[in-house]
């Protein structure tokens, strides 16, 4: 008569049953962790390892320690690429205020506003390759629209993409066109969520114009600003296609950024230096790491504050 149901359930349970609470989350996480490790962590590790070798991608790899990095320190082209990356990071951020002001301008109810909004959003839908082509025609030294307009106001012809000092700014301006549209959309959705009561309250306190914008509207747009900042920084660091289309890194390498230089050294027609390319990639990764850390840190702070 000892065979009661109560005793049966007291019998030793399986290992999984005993550890269910602890194990289950890890089981759910496992696929993501595996893929992340395999496609992100492992390649990062490999890139760092390759950067210590002299390897043409075909023959034997030769360990050379920090030599690739020592060479980078003394490489004029690398220095130019690094500065250009900084220019991109700095001037690409203009997309955020630009997007904000267009969003404020479009945040009104008139007939056909949806059409205007879509027209402003249009460049973001275009492929970067098309944007690059359109702008390189726009900048053409003789036939281009830009010089046509400059000619009307009596300014001499300027060869934006052929001038080593101007070319990078010319490409950034092209990149700003779709990026501003992107930021605009982020702010437009953000403006929908602005609390009308706070605006009302601000009005009662006689706030208007710039003060209203700075103290009432912008603080409420903080989430949108954060996302706009993240996508713009990422966009600036990935500025590869526009450069490839508009100048191919030229004139004489003056518009290269790190990602483009890495591609040229390791993977392009004349590139045979996997180790050197990997070293450039590691430097680029370190720069990105600064921003990634900042993003993660601010998101973590946000979570904690809740």
């Amino acid at each position: 008569m000892t065979d009661t149901p109560a005793e049966q359930s007291a019998a030793p349970r399986g290992w999984y049953k005993r550890n269910e609470i602890a194990v289950t989350p890890w089981l759910f996480l496992a696929p993501a962790i595996l893929f992340f490790a395999f496609y992100v962590i492992w390649p990062i590790y490999q890139s760092i390892m390759i950067s210590f070798y002299d390897w043409d991608g075909l023959g034997e790899a030769r360990f050379i320690g920090m030599d690739n990095y020592v060479e980078l320190m003394d490489d004029g082209a690398f220095e130019v690429s690094l500065w250009n990356n900084l220019k991109w990071l700095l001037f690409y951020l203009l997309a955020i205020p630009g997007g904000l002001f267009i969003a404020l301008f479009l945040n009104q109810t008139v007939t056909g506003i949806r059409i205007y909004k879509s027209l402003f959003f249009f460049p973001f839908v275009l492929s970067q390759v098309v944007v690059g082509l359109v702008f390189s025609w726009f900048y053409l030294p003789n036939e281009g629209l830009l010089n046509g307009v400059l000619g009307l106001v009596g300014l001499g012809p300027v060869n934006v993409l052929g001038d080593p000092t101007l070319a990078t700014y010319g490409i950034i301006a092209a990149g700003l066109w779709p990026q501003t549209a992107y930021c605009m959309i982020l702010y437009l959705t953000g403006l929908n969520a602005v609390d009308p009561e706070q605006i009302e309250a601000g009005r009662l306190d006689n706030a208007k114009g710039w003060k209203m914008l700075w103290y009432i509207i912008i603080p409420q747009l903080k989430p949108a600003t954060f996302i706009a900042f993240v996508v713009t920084i990422i966009g600036a660091l990935r500025s590869f296609d526009l450069i490839s289309i508009m100048t191919n890194g030229g004139p004489f390498g003056q518009t290269r950024v790190l990602s483009f230089y890495m591609f040229e050294k390791a993977l392009s027609e004349y590139g045979f230096r996997m180790g050197y390319g990997a070293a450039i990639a590691v430097v680029l990764f370190l720069i990105m790491l600064v921003f990634i850390t900042y993003f993660l840190w601010s998101m973590w702070k946000e979570e904690k504050a809740r």
Binding site: G57, G59, G162, N248, G250, P251, Y270, F272, R273
Partner: protein, 418 residues
């Protein structure tokens, strides 16, 4: 890396018979990778492969055509991983990395066969590294100055025979409100053509190759002399403005519209120029004129090639295919005006009856005693070429930066040739 007039004439005098070896019937698969992605060359190659297939019905041929630019990077992957049996590539130093990595099959045995030894002697040097041959050529073309005959006639100019005439012609053209030469240096290599010719005309073929092989410093006074000659043209304003913005194709409208009188280019420029409306009464060709008197003239004539990857699985069939490609009849056929429109590599082949092909063939076989180079980015190691061409472009835009550029190139040279 060169083929001399002597060897070329010997080859011409040699047998024009094609000894087609009647080997045992071939079977199995034959995988062919091609970079001839432009419509006309693609059709030519596909037709040629179909003909080869018809001769060998037991063979299952699989052809893959890859975009010409993408091919240049993909070749590194497919040679190591999933090898075809036959692949296209370029002669001279451009095959160096793959030869050194042991990825191309040594085909010296083919070159020992009389059908190839006697008829292809002129290109043997370009296919040789370390005393062995690593592939066979299937086409090549001349470089030279293509000019607007009607503009020259209008100004009463003749084809220049030396540098002084070249400059005085240019001055006359400039005075008529045109530019002398169009060029588009956005993708850099076009400037390499100018350097090739100026250097080979100033100091000769052997000096040029010494520089290519790292035997001469870029800061050498002789190299500076070459740049000084170049600078004379630049300071005259001989080249179109803003050439750093244009690809070579985008630089063609200048010559088509008569804003520039000439272009230094390979024979592949003829087709687009003809299509744009320049017929033979308006377009003509001359050999790059002499600069230093007494220096033997040498030419650029890039050669495109077929190779057998070392990891190929059907090497017997691949060898038969290579024999087929270089045979006199096939060479005559694929290089004629309706197909590739270039020069056949087999001395027994006929050159198509085309003004430019004939002029080019005569020039290369009779008036190129100095030797024949492949092209800047094929003769110089890839890394040196990439840095140097960038420097050449910078020099063309800012000639004053020359000393700085040459010092930089010396540094690269030290690393590349160690």
């Amino acid at each position: 890396m060169r083929f001399t007039t002597k060897s070329m004439l010997m080859a011409l005098a040699g047998s024009t018979m094609l000894a087609s070896s009647a080997t045992a019937e071939l079977s199995g698969d034959l995988k062919i990778f091609l970079d001839t992605s432009n419509p006309a060359p693609r059709a030519t190659m596909e037709k040629m492969i179909a003909d080869f297939g018809a001769e060998h019905p037991g063979l299952n041929i699989e052809t893959t055509v890859i975009d010409r630019e993408a091919y240049k990077t993909q070749i590194r992957n497919f040679l190591t991983a999933d090898s075809p049996d036959v692949a296209t590539w370029y002669a001279a130093n451009r095959m160096g990395p793959y030869v050194n990595a042991g990825l191309f099959e040594d085909v010296s045995d083919l070159w020992a066969e009389p059908a190839i030894a006697d008829n292809l002697a002129s290109t043997k040097g370009a296919m040789t590294i370390d005393g062995k041959q690593w592939g066979v050529p299937y086409t090549y073309y001349q470089w030279g100055i293509y000019y607007r005959k009607d503009i020259y006639e209008e100004l009463g100019l003749n084809e220049p025979a030396n540098f002084d005439e070249m400059k005085s012609n240019c001055q006359a053209i400039l005075d008529s409100g045109r530019k002398c030469y169009t060029i588009g240096t956005k993708f850099l290599w076009t400037a390499g053509g100018w350097f090739d010719y100026l250097n080979m005309r100033t100091h000769g073929f052997d000096f040029h190759m010494e520089l290519a092989n790292g035997g001469v410093k870029w800061t050498d006074d002789r190299v500076k002399q070459t740049f000084a000659n170049w600078r004379e043209l630049i300071d005259m304003g001989a080249f179109v403005d803003n050439h750093q913005n244009y690809s070579w194709q985008e630089s063609l409208p200048f010559i088509v519209n008569g804003e520039a009188a000439a272009i230094l280019k390979g024979n592949f420029a003829v087709a687009p120029l003809r299509e744009a409306g320049l017929d033979d009464s308006k377009l003509d060709f001359y050999q790059f004129p002499e600069i230093t008197p007494g220096i033997a003239l040498a030419e650029d004539a890039p050669t495109d090639t077929f190779h057998i990857p070392a990891n190929a699985s059907n090497k017997e069939a691949a060898r038969e295919f290579l024999r087929f490609v270089v045979s006199a009849n096939v060479q005559t056929e694929i290089n004629n005006g309706a197909n590739l429109g270039q020069l056949p590599v087999n001395a027994g082949s006929a050159v198509d009856n085309d003004k430019f092909l004939n002029e080019g063939f005569t020039m290369l076989s009779e008036n190129s005693p100095g030797g024949v180079a492949q092209f800047f980015d094929r003769d110089f190691p890839a890394e040196m070429a990439a840095e140097a061409m960038q420097g050449l472009q910078e020099f063309m835009v800012f000639p004053d930066n020359l000393d700085d550029i040459l010092k930089r190139l010396d540094k690269v040279q030290e690393r590349v040739y160690k």
